[in-house]
Amino acid sequence: MNVQAMAQTKRQGTGDAQTLMEIKDLRIWYRTTRGNAQAVDGVDLTFKRNEVFGLAGESGCGKTTLARGILGMTKLPGFVESGEAIYYRSVSDSSSVGRDLLTMPAREMRQYRWRDIAYIPQGAMNVLSPVTRIEKQILDAIYEHSEMSKEEARARMFECLEMVGLETTVARMYPHELSGGMKQRVTIAAAISLRPGLIIADEPTTALDVNVQQVILQELKEITGQLGLTLIYVTHDMAVHAEMADRMGIMYSGQIVEVAPVIETFKEPLHPYTQGLISSIPVIGGDRSRMVGIPGNAPSPLDWPSGCRFHPRCPKVMDICREKQPPMLEVAPERFVACHLYPTPLSGAAPASEELEK
């Protein structure tokens, strides 16, 4: 694997102060009666400060396991098999201290959670306690992870509710009095309450309407800019990524297959899986030809296919794909792909588009 090279190039390109988190060869497995389900299996990623990183992939590819893993919330039967997730807490504007979140004692990890890394889970309706007022739920999180006084915490809570466009009267309400969109905003307000450096949002708008989705996405993006934090946005909805992301990572079968800036991802997807994902987005207007999607089913994490994990479904499969796992290579500046179609760096854009036409 070209892990080191990748990390190296990143570091040179951006400088340490720009790097917020580095994930190195992370493997999170689940123990099952039929062996280990390798849900996340060798992920290398680097997140920069103040960016929106979109993580895409179909369900079961390990997106959520990865997101929760970074937070150190992996619970049995899941376990971290190997790897590091180094979080760089900034000390001043130019220096930062990196600590591996995965080997950190639980007590210390609590210091990082919420204060540095917040999480907006999937399905906001289900994360709020139905028998507790909104204010108590947010305040509890603040008290638990900071030393704020009562007054400060309340002021902060109201400030956060206002930031996400909620009236302060919401604080006294119970979750059932709120609509889905409002509940989602409450979880966002709670997530930003301690001004974390990183927010991981796992499919926060899947259950919402397009209108509400637009409002929430725009708010999230605005808050990200205002507070200068990094947002890792996990969803399978490529159109949302197109609206939100600065850079994108495409995940398939527990691995990252492509990382690139969002424009390149959509304009010139390199990995055949990315190409399939992008071509199966229904578009309004245009001709209504029959789309095929990506044929076949996602493989089982208990038994990944040999070689490249996408090869059974890949339209461009070659002999080498069945035997050898493709390494992650930087084929152009800031563009990484793990596919045997691209053994050497792309020389300009022209040869790549030729490759695509075939």
Binding site: V212, V215, L217, F266, V283, G285, N297
Partner: protein
Amino acid sequence: MTDPKDNTAVLEVRNVSKIFNVPTPGFEREYIAAVDQVSLALREKPAQIVSLVGESGSGKTTLARIMLGLTPPTRGQILYRGKQVSDLKKDEWWDFRRNVQPIFQDPFGIYNPFYRVDRALDMTIKNFGLASSQDEALALKSESLRAVDLRPEDVIGRYPHQLSGGQCQRVMLARTLLLQPKIIIADEPVSMIDVAVRMLFLNTLLDFRDKYDISSLMITHDLATAYYMGGPMLVLCFGRVVESGDIEQLIDKPSHAYTQQLLKAIPSPDPEARWETRANVKITDRPLTHEGDKCVYVERCPYAMPICSQRRPPDYEIEEGHYAACFLYRDKPERRRTE
């Protein structure tokens, strides 16, 4: 598209309203029209896929439940082959149950996790007496599974948790296919399955229309999905159909402010064409609307006029078959309301 005198309609909804009693802070009771004088028809020949688009809380699911005969409407009629569903005799009721089939949103929620998935198929075969022997039943099952692009050996004998969401949802389609219904009422069938697999499901629904003459009511919040399916579309806003017509007409010339807003809010899969303006939609609770009241969209509408809060806008015909319930089109002919 909902001509009341048209009798090719298999299932027709006429001026249906469903009023719910909602508690408010304080002691007064309020009433909310979850579905407010909606009319629509599903025809048999030619089979078509009608899309019903609207955000959550717009009454989509309530309407689906009314059409399936699961919830009685407060007012209005649901006609199955010209007869009121509530008046059907026992054998007619069975015929209705067989010919109008549901597909629900959550592919896992509909299976009992303790039973194998093919039990859903077995029970259907048993209840409707579709097969006279075990072998025949197995052959039927295999055939219907193949018709929805599933391999029988992948599905038969498996438990729901062993299948993916897309597979579960297609087993539901296979179950539907066993009965060869006339109408499928699909309530958000693809919102919980992956993009790559979503196409397979939608294509199956298209095949049903083309090969087996099965009409569908496709309830969705995703305009792009509705566009892919083609056919007539109704836009539901707080219980009322605010705009209806062929989907091409609606996309070309969205006339109601709500439809325009919906179209604007869809994230486009092009990172170079991002939303330019900030959405100025207030996320509020749905307004408490009553039948015959003002326009439901008046609070959010950028074109709101005094008349909008005085009475309910009737449907104006913008062009042939394209209606919008909005006073902006007062000069256009009004659609005659049917009683």
